[in-house]
């Protein structure tokens, strides 16, 4: 089994690296090589003219006179040295822009992920095992309601209640961790619906398995059956979804950061896209896709720890083998 597990791990890591590389190539060529040179455009932008001296430096730095392939190699060499280029609007190094924005977004995304887990978990357990059928019914209806409510609406409602009515948090000032809570809650409510739904399904399915009857016949209490056995059996699809959700939280930060006026990656992205700041866009896309690929990798590597059958039998038997 360990041999199978090792080759499984090695393959998944190789796939992840490949995905990140291919994304870079694709995005670079779309932004810089396809017709419609972003740098030239930005220099000639009538609303935001760049002084001739600065323009010259930018043109030299990006080697727009060279062929596409040359530009790509130059960019790649600089990337290896940690040089992500310069913003076309502010002239600041892209790396420092990103580094400034990351902590804001990271605080938001990780708090939101935590909230998501707690909300989805509570709803699912209540929907599957609450003693009162009324509570079960309400809990079952919640994921659908969460899905149907757009996150900007949830955001506005939360602001209305906690900032304007109760005055607990400022809607504008940055108050450290306190300011993270509302946007994180808005995000969590938006993404916890599908997770709760999948977990409810998983719990109900696992609870109907014959092994639960046997556990009960052995004299185990309900709580131990649910928490010790059913939950783990129901968890795999939920873990997948939780991983994908982390990506969604990063992407979703564009909307939430705008509403809650936070200057994280989402804000940076929104600015960059509006100003057609290609180097920043490239860096943001690479950041998001790397995080995405890594989360998927981590969730895939967690599976065998939850379910030993996954590493042992990664490919389902074909119909031929399954018969007899």
């Amino acid at each position: 089994m360990p041999a199978a597990l090792h080759s499984y791990t090695a393959r998944r890591i190789a796939q992840t690296v490949l995905v990140v590389i291919l994304t870079y190539v694709l995005v670079f060529f779309i932004l810089f090589i396809l017709p419609g040179d972003p740098i030239q455009q930005q220099i000639e932008n009538p609303q935001n003219p760049i002084p001739a001296a600065d323009a010259k430096i930018l043109l030299q730095y990006y080697h727009v006179d060279r062929s596409g392939l040359d530009q790509f190699w130059i960019a790649l060499r600089r990337l290896a040295q940690g040089d992500l280029g310069y913003s076309l609007t502010t002239g600041k190094p892209v790396a420092s822009l990103i580094l400034q924005a990351i902590p804001q977004t990271l605080a938001l995304a990780s708090t939101a992920l935590l909230f998501t887990g707690v909300i989805a978990f509570t709803i699912a357990l209540a929907a599957a095992f609450a003693p009162s059928s009324v509570i079960r019914g309400i809990a079952r209806a919640l994921p659908g309601a969460f899905l149907a409510t757009p996150s900007f609406l949830v955001g506005f409602l939360l602001l209305q209640l906690f900032s304007f009515q109760l005055g607990w948090v400022s809607a504008i000032r940055d108050e450290g961790f306190k300011s993270v809570i509302l946007p994180a809650l808005a995000l969590a409510i938006a993404v916890s619906g599908p997770i709760a739904q999948v977990l409810i399904q998983g719990l109900n399915r696992a609870y109907g398995e014959p092994f639960v009857t046997v556990l009960r016949a052995r004299g185990l209490g309900e709580a131990r059956i649910v928490l010790g056995h059913v939950l783990r059996n129901a968890a795999i699809p939920t873990v997948t979804l939780l991983g994908l959700t982390l990506g969604e939280l990063l992407a979703g930060s564009v909307v939430t950061e705008t509403i809650f006026s936070r200057t994280g990656i989402g804000f940076l992205t929104q600015q960059a896209v509006r100003e057609q700041d290609a180097p920043v866009i490239l860096a943001v896309v690479m950041l998001v896709s790397t995080v995405f690929a890594l989360t998927v990798l981590v969730t895939d590597l967690i599976y065998p720890l939850i379910d030993p059958r996954i590493a042992a039998r990664p490919i389902p038997a074909t119909a031929d083998q399954a018969s007899d």
Binding site: V214, A217, G219, R232, R309, R313, D324
Partner: protein
């Protein structure tokens, strides 16, 4: 101690009085209870067999007696006493104290009955600790000892195995170890071996019997298999439609049944009437030695795409099916019998060897379209899976005729009607869908669909093993009648040797992809030349005598 006391007081270990169980909360369900008026006792050390078909209420009875009824089931009348304690309306908490300690439960499907994510040893150790049999530090050693006792090979190694790494028989041993871990007085076994191969089945039942003697256990054995009940139980309760039809000493009930339903059940059990079709066979006379299917040196390997390991499913398999015969292909799961059937039917490729079906030599890789569908048809074990759920029966039956462009609409309708009559189905089912039919009816539809193209050969892959005894008996009678009338040849795949003994003219025994022996049924059944065949035959229940009273 409690055990001895109840023996001394001569109390039954389990006593069920006038029990009625209803599913669903609505009052109108009271008219159609799942069980009504059921009474019986089990004495210490005794085995009571609960016999009945699916839907007879035997599993409901087992669950009610073990306090494991699903949430929508409840006891509306009568009493259940477990070792003198009235448990009729115990809630979960009070049941929990009895489970494991007083009552052990052995489930039907060993593969799904252990938590797939936990090591089997831990699951047993957990029970030992839970019931205070072992302290946490000594649980592992005790569990290993218990594994050894229930016949798990290399128990120390198996302790750390996950359920998917063990075979069905080994898993059932684990479950038995868990059931007896806390020394209960009563075991409830719900069809404990019906998912297992015959040879494994016998060894598991032997193990349960040994443990029974050793731990003076009572056993409530739920089974649909009368032959098994005959061999393994002291007393018998026959259930039908939720009511007791007959109860008494196993030997008495078997030799002199009083109830008409019991008589029917006994007549339908293939193991108890092996020569049912002998007259039919004699009337037909000997078969001419014309081969319908000839297989030589057939080899097929499956390659695991992940590990690259090759597994040989068939290894130089060779046998001949005589035209007009019922040729039984016998073997345990994994023996390659289904693979062989799929190759004969032109559905699977093979690596080498030759396969000739009705004079046509099959290519190594079958074409996507099955060109000899009109010569040979395949009938699957699971008719529900073989029929498109969205098709009405009329559409399902018309499809093969449409594909082969046979006749116009009126002619098709006529031949569908004629075939339905042959398989004993009313025309009224034509507008229904597979899900609305019973298992027996569905299998009849599948057979009708196969017959519509008027094939010469039918490959029947365990066609009756998902059906109840009486339904199976009617279907086998139908198959034999159709064979007679239409001059068909059957390649009949089965693991059920008692059924094979009833119907087969020729037998091929497969084991791990090799032919163990092949030849006329009479010779193989009366004097098998291979020890594997002898083992298979010896494992068939119902051959031995009655179990003597304890």
């Amino acid at each position: 101690m409690d055990n001895d006391e109840s023996t001394r007081l001569n109390l039954p270990v389990l006593s069920v009085r006038d029990l009625a169980v209803v599913y669903g909360g609505r009052r109108d369900r009271l008219d159609s209870p799942a069980l009504h008026g059921v009474s019986f006792d089990i004495a210490a050390g005794e085995t009571l067999a609960l016999v009945g078909q699916s839907g007879s209420g035997k599993s409901t009875l087992a669950l009610a007696a073990a306090g494991l009824l699903p949430a929508n089931g409840r006891i509306v009348h009568g009493e259940v006493h477990l070792r003198g304690e009235r448990v009729t309306h115990h809630d979960r908490r009070r049941w929990q104290k009895l489970r494991g300690k007083v009552l052990g439960f052995i489930p039907q499907d060993p593969l799904g009955s252990l938590d797939p994510l936990q090591r089997v040893g831990h699951q047993l150790a957990q029970s030992l600790v839970l019931h205070g049999i072992a302290r946490r530090s000594e649980a592992r050693e005790q569990a290993i000892g218990l594994f050894d006792r229930v016949g798990i090979r290399e128990p120390r190694l198996r302790f750390d195995a996950y359920p998917h790494e063990l075979s069905g028989g080994q898993l059932q041993r684990v479950l038995i170890a868990i059931a007896v871990a806390a020394r209960p007085s009563l075991l409830v076994a719900d069809e404990p071996t019906s998912a297992l191969d015959v040879t494994v089945q016998r060894r598991i039942l032997d193990l349960i019997e040994d443990l029974q003697d050793e731990l003076s256990l009572s056993l409530l054995l739920i089974t649909h298999d009368l032959a098994l009940a005959k061999e393994r139980s002291h007393r018998l309760v026959v259930l039908n439609h939720g009511a007791v039809r007959e109860t008494g000493d196993t030997a008495t009930v078997m030799s002199a049944p009083r109830d008409s339903y019991t008589v029917q059940l006994l007549a339908d059990a293939p193991a108890l009437s092996p020569d049912k079709f002998d007259a039919l066979r004699h009337a037909r006379g000997p078969l001419a030695a014309v081969p319908a299917i000839e297989i030589r040196d057939l080899t097929k390997t499956f390659r695991n795409r992940w590990t690259g390991q090759a597994a040989t499913a068939l290894d130089k398999v060779g046998f001949t099916v005589t035209r007009g015969a019922v040729h039984a292909l016998v073997g345990e799961s994994g023996s390659g019998k289904t693979t062989a059937a799929r190759i004969v039917a032109g559905l699977s490729s093979f690596d080498s060897g030759s396969v000739t079906v009705a004079g046509r030599t099959l290519p190594l890789h079958p074409p996507t379209t099955n060109h000899h569908a009109r010569t040979l048809q395949l009938v699957y074990q699971n008719a529900l899976a073989a029929l498109d759920p969205k098709f009405t029966i009329a559409e399902a039956l018309a499809e093969p005729l449409r594909i082969h462009r046979l006749g116009n609409a009126a002619q098709r309708h006529d031949s569908i009607r004629a075939t339905l009559e042959q398989v004993g189905l009313p025309e009224s089912i034509l507008e229904r869908r597979p899900r609305d039919l019973s298992g027996g009816q569905r299998q009849r539809v599948a057979i009708a669909r196969a017959l519509l193209l008027q094939p010469e050969l039918l490959v029947l892959d365990e066609p009756t093993s998902a059906l109840d005894v009486t339904v199976q008996a009617r279907l086998v009678e139908l198959l034999m009648e159709l064979k007679q009338r239409n001059g068909l040849t059957y390649l009949f795949i089965s693991h059920d040797l008692s059924l094979v003994r009833q119907i087969a003219d020729e037998i091929t025994v497969l084991s791990t992809g090799r032919v163990v022996e092949t030849g006329p049924a009479d010779r193989i059944l009366s004097s098998p030349s291979h020890s594997y065949t002898a083992d298979l035959l010896a494992a068939v229940p119902g051959r031995g005598s009655f179990r003597s009273a304890a």
